[in-house]
């Protein structure tokens, strides 16, 4: 039996790594905000004194608020229907939620650009009713739409978890005590869902504060959000001082909300106890089928799944434009993609970096998971807190912080720099998934293996590893996708000779837009789908065993 103290050592590699790659740069950013160009509160005073800046701050907060409210209104009926349907339909509904989750951010945003363009599908549909065409991009409408779509899963999951845990007999009881159905719903179900509502709202609001890609591509330069402003100050104007101050303000807003939510009692991690697989759904009080709910949720499902799917037929278009549906099909844009040195290089870079990140993040994350769970110490929990920082701090802030430090260290535009930054983002995912698996592991199994003649190391390989293997595979997959899809940090770290696929897509979208981007998107979607399906097969094997 290894002593708990030995296990502490396993946390150290990941801890040190994150300290150097994330915590130190964040500290440097805070310092810079006070110290550049000269020591004092100058940057903060400037930020709050300039109308333009304050307006951006207010706009950012209002946008996040609007997205949160929209998500809540759309997610609640959807989550409620999830508790009413049987296991098979529930699985379909969960699948619909997870697709935008798994779709690369650039691809998703690009899909919205195509859909919302003046001649796009949305305007075509509106045209059928004699409306429009409207300008849906280049202003906040598109931004709100796209952000809401991306954030919906984060709202639906906690709501579903809260709703699923409510005993529906309470509804019958309230009804029996004299409340008509709708009133019974309002007085019983709604109050009991509050923890889910709080959890979902907090996570959506906080994530919405940090959005960069969507407002940059779908919004207007005259209606910037805070993240865009930060990126501009740091990477365009090289005003590290004020950029850092803005990052600190954004971080403080985030931290403030998270902390007050914790005080309020809403946990941000309520999902997990939910049984998505329970075979039958709850009964409605009236016993009737909730037809309106089904129609509404169907539309929501289409909004969740639809956008990215549009890009697949588009990649086969024969046109040099994004007319949808295409008038004729061809492989010319595929030919274009595979004959272009830029695209191929970007793809190779992405694959190479993501592969390296997968190895590094999985090794660091698995070790750290064992260390955190098995050391059972305060040190372990403290280390876990540090390791999870990249998940809590908005990526824009991490990007600015890492960029400033990597410039000094000479890591920008190097593969090493990319791998280090992406690994820092990926390790938390691995740790969350793998440590959950290690926690459920019966430690006596390793002892049993020893009593049967296995050395400790062999017992670990033959018993422990096979048992957590599905989770390690999931963690590795998530690490790969995290790196492969990452844009924001990559935009800072890129150099003329080192660009990743999302970075190249991002710049192509901004200057010479053609359907090659749809090809790249389709390839990314295909790759992600293959990986996820492989992982599901793995998981299934794992479940059959246990």
């Amino acid at each position: 039996m290894k002593s708990p103290n030995m296990w502490k050592l396993a946390v150290i590699p990941a801890l040190l790594f994150l300290m150097v790659v994330v915590i130190l740069p964040l500290g440097n950013t805070i310092w810079t905000s006070f110290a550049k160009p000269e020591l004092g509160l100058g940057n903060y005073v400037e930020f709050f004194a300039r109308d333009a800046y304050v307006r951006i701050l207010v706009r950012t907060i209002l946008t996040a608020l609007l997205v949160t409210v929209a998500c809540l209104l759309i997610a609640f009926p959807y989550a409620y229907l999830m508790t009413l349907v049987g296991a098979r339909w529930r699985l379909v509904m969960v699948g619909a939620i997870l697709i935008p989750f798994w779709t690369s951010a650039v691809v998703r945003t690009f899909a919205w650009m195509v859909l919302l363009q003046p001649s796009g599908l949305v305007n075509q549909a509106l045209g059928l009713f004699g409306l429009g065409p409207y300008y849906l991009t280049g202003n906040l409408i598109g931004v709100l739409l796209a952000m809401t779509q991306v954030m919906l899963p984060l709202m639906i999951l906690p709501l579903f978890s809260a709703l699923a845990s409510i005993d529906r007999k309470l509804l019958v009881a309230a009804n029996g005590l004299g409340s008509p159905p709708l009133r019974a719903f309002r007085r019983v179900i709604l109050p009991l869902t509050v923890p889910g509502i709080v959890a979902g709202s907090v996570i959506v609001f906080v994530s919405s504060l940090g959005f960069y890609l969507i407002p940059q591509l779908l919004g207007s330069p005259r209606q910037q959000l805070l993240s865009q402003l930060i990126v501009d100050e740091v990477s365009v104007r090289l005003n590290f001082g004020i950029g850092s101050a803005m990052a600190v303000v954004l971080f403080l807003a985030t931290a403030l909300i998270l902390l007050s939510a914790r005080k309020f009692g809403g946990s941000t991690e309520t999902f997990g106890s939910t049984n998505v697989l329970s075979p039958r759904g709850a009964e409605t009080l009236s016993g009737r089928r909730p037809v309106a709910l089904v129609i509404f949720s169907g539309i929501v499902g289409m909004i969740l799944v639809g956008p990215a799917m549009v890009l697949i037929p588009l990649s086969f278009t024969n046109e040099a434009s994004f007319v949808f549906p295409p008038e004729s099909y061809s492989l010319r844009w595929y030919a274009n993609f595979f004959s272009s040195r830029d695209w191929i290089e970007a793809l190779t870079n992405s694959l190479k970096i993501a592969g390296l990140v997968t190895v590094c993040a999985t090794v660091l994350g698995v070790l750290a998971s064992f260390g955190i769970v098995r050391s059972r110490s305060r040190f372990g929990r403290w280390a876990q807190g540090i390791i999870l920082v990249p998940r809590i701090v908005p990526t824009v802030i991490v990007a600015v912080a890492v960029y400033a430090v990597f410039l000094v260290w000479g890591f920008t535009a190097t593969t090493t720099g990319f791998v280090m930054a992406h690994t820092a983002l990926a390790v938390p995912f691995v740790v969350v998934i793998v440590s959950a698996a290690v926690k459920t592991l019966d430690p006596r199994l390793e002892i049993a293996a020893q009593s049967l003649g296995s050395s400790p190391l062999r017992g670990f390989c033959r018993v422990t590893l096979p048992l957590i293997w599905p989770s390690v595979a999931s963690g590795a997959l998530l690490a790969f996708i995290t790196s492969f899809d990452e844009v924001i940090i990559s935009l800072f770290l890129q150099g003329p000779f080192l660009r990743t696929l999302p970075v190249l897509m991002f710049s192509s979208i901004q200057d010479r837009i053609d359907p090659t981007i749809a090809v790249a998107s389709t390839l990314i979607l295909a790759l992600a789908s293959i990986l996820i399906i492989l992982n599901l097969v793995f998981r299934k094997d794992g479940q059959n065993i246990s």
Binding site: M1, D442, R444, L445, I447, A448, A449, Q450, S451, L452, G453, S454, S455, P456, R458, G459, R462, V463, P466, L467, N544, I545, S546
Partner: protein, 374 residues
């Protein structure tokens, strides 16, 4: 070393000796001064309440924990420095610790594979071990598909398949219901007889200990209080704790003075005499007699008067509680055919022959006695 721990196919258990074994965690002592001399093929039970040190002792024998002091010998060779996976002892764990990602056969084959045996031998031995525990037909099942009793049998098969000289069992029947437990106790005893392995069996269930063991070591507070055959422990407990823990008992704490036992102003005739000093008189519930207040009491019996507080008919026995006021509250068990003609609330005489009581030296306040309200 290799020789003593080699294959046990000729059915020979190993001799095991614990000498002054101690285990402490900082200032906390888990076990201390454990001395135990076990003959080849003996079935020894480590019995005690939870936290008494019995599992720690088992883990030290298995090599999962290191003794802070003392040594364990197998066939007179010290094994303290041998890591667990080289000790070649079979172990059945509490809740079995079967590998959930392997089938029944794979679980049982595991220790044989670790010993680099030929494929064919592995298949044969696995089959034989599963047949021995009557699970030959379930080899391809997943562990999750088995009942508790079946899992228990797989765990047993896995622990004996490599023919160890020593079999360690940590509360192996604890998670099963009563009927299944009794059935498996019988099978376990049968199996022990057939394969002749030395068994260390940890339990907190005294009935199980009595039914299975050649000898029992009673643990309390990290020490062995007494080692003996079940019968010896029952008939001659050397401490109030053992008297209370083995079998049901009425304990009367008091003192010996001038050949008589005295407790709370009441004198008793004790059986075999002991020296003066604090002592506890033990009377088993089955050896107490109850008579109606006007009934006859044989000469020479200890007698105290009381009231029948409650009675329960349990089939072949009747259980009574007799409240003797200042002299305490007694548990009585009457066998069928010898039921007394008494009813709840009756004034009764409680009596017993002095030879049917046992005098134990010392008084232990931590052990329940007849003066406790119960």
């Amino acid at each position: 070393m290799a020789k003593i721990l080699a294959d046990n196919s000729e059915g020979q258990g190993a001799a095991v000796r614990l000498e002054g074994v101690k285990r402490s965690y900082g200032d906390v002592i888990a076990v201390e001064n454990v001395n135990l001399d076990v003959k080849p093929g003996e079935f020894v039970t480590l019995l005690g309440p939870s936290g008494s040190g019995k599992s720690t002792t088992l883990n030290i024998i298995a090599g999962f924990e290191q003794a802070t002091a003392g040594e364990v010998f197998v066939n007179d060779q010290p094994i303290g420095r041998l890591p667990a996976h080289k000790r070649n002892m079979g172990m059945v764990f509490q809740h079995y610790a079967l590998f959930p990602h392997m089938t029944v056969s794979q679980n049982v084959a595991y220790p044989l594979e670790e010993r680099r045996m030929a494929k064919q031998d592995i298949a044969e031995k696995t089959r034989a071990a599963l047949d021995l525990v009557k699970l030959g037909h379930l080899g391809d099942r997943n562990i999750a598909q088995l009942s508790g009793g079946q899992q228990q049998r797989v765990a047993l098969a896995r622990a004996i398949v490599f023919s160890p000289h020593i079999l360690l069992m940590d509360e192996p029947l604890g998670a099963l219901d009563k009927q299944l437990r009794e059935e498996l106790q019988y099978e376990l005893k049968e199996l022990h007889r057939r394969i002749g392995v030395t068994v260390f069996f940890v339990t907190h269930d005294q009935e199980e200990a009595l039914a299975l063991s050649d000898r029992i070591a009673v643990f309390n507070d990290g020490q062995i209080l007494q080692i003996g055959t079940p019968r010896a422990l029952w008939e001659a407990p050397q401490s109030p704790f053992v008297a209370n823990f083995i079998g049901e008992s009425n304990l009367i704490p008091g003192a010996m003075a001038q050949g008589r036992f005295r407790a709370r102003d009441q004198d008793y005739q004790a059986g075999p005499n002991a020296g003066d000093g604090a002592a506890t008189l033990l009377v088993r519930p089955g050896q107490l007699r109850v008579s109606a207040a006007d009934g006859a009491v044989p000469d020479g019996h200890n007698r105290i008067t009381g009231k029948l507080a409650s009675s329960a008919f349990m089939g072949s026995v009747r259980r009574l509680v007799v409240d003797c006021g200042a002299n305490g509250r007694f548990q009585v068990v009457e066998q069928i055919g010898a039921f007394s003609d008494t009813a709840d609330g009756d004034a009764v005489i409680l009596h017993w022959h002095p030879d049917n009581s046992i005098l134990v030296e010392g008084v232990d306040d931590t052990v329940a006695n007849v003066f406790d309200a119960r």
